[in-house]
Symmetry: C2
Subunit: 111 residues, 2 copies
DNA sequence: TTCCATATACTAGAATGTAGAACATAAGGT
DNA sequence: ACCTTATGTTCTACATTCTAGTATATGGAA
């Protein structure tokens, strides 16, 4: 039966989901904003990049430099995309939780 | 509006769910077993207790000593129960995730 | 060429995750 | 009584993740 699965930390999961959701628009600053909205709290940009780097190192996502000449000024963006392994990790993480939460009624916020 | 919410780490969430699920049968060794089954990997007993202690310190759960004379031998159990604040934290943690995951199709393992 | 806005990189300390050995307690056999 | 076995918990230490804060990079506009 397979190697031990690799589970994501809470923030890693959140960031990975944000990248997924933003699709072709996923770059640091925007990701930060998305995460802040979803978590309803201030998230430092450093926190986001540290996590993105770690996720990339693990092969869960990939990044590349955006256009060298942005439209309105400012540094070039670094875009991110979730890789297959990232989706897998997301699934595994969710699986463990689901097996435990299934059938439990604790007043879930059903969005 | 309100103070910044408190989110649970991955393992904290798993352990809290296990305690909830085990109900009146939630004590260290059993919790460990439940968590191991759900995550499909070996979980050291130390990892479980360290997390239980931290969760108790934060007020997410409560513990007390079980019977002084267990049926078959061995040390008395220490039972755990999730408190209201724990349920709240579970909800908040879930909420943030839901807001991001909602509508995203990445092949969820629907158990 | 200075200032401002947008972005990313780096660093450090706190919190969480994780393992393993030590300790505690009781039942049962001999 | 004493030792072995079965349960269960406590303690300690270290690795990884979380998080904030500060520094650096780059281009447009005044």
């Amino acid at each position: 039966m397979s190697e031990p699965k690799d589970y994501l930390g809470h923030f890693e999961e959140i960031v990975l989901l944000a990248v997924m959701r933003l699709a072709e628009n996923a770059y640091g600053a925007k990701i930060r904003q998305t995460v802040a909205e979803a978590t309803e709290r201030d998230v430092s940009i450093g926190a986001v990049y540290a996590t993105l780097d770690r996720l990339e190192r693990k092969g869960y996502l990939k990044s590349w430099q955006g256009e060298a000449t942005p439209e309105r000024g400012g540094r070039a963006k670094r875009y991110f995309r979730v890789e297959g392994a990232g989706v897998q990790a997301l699934n595994d993480t969710n699986g463990a939780r689901n097996r435990l939460a299934h059938g439990l009624d604790f007043g879930l916020d059903v969005a």
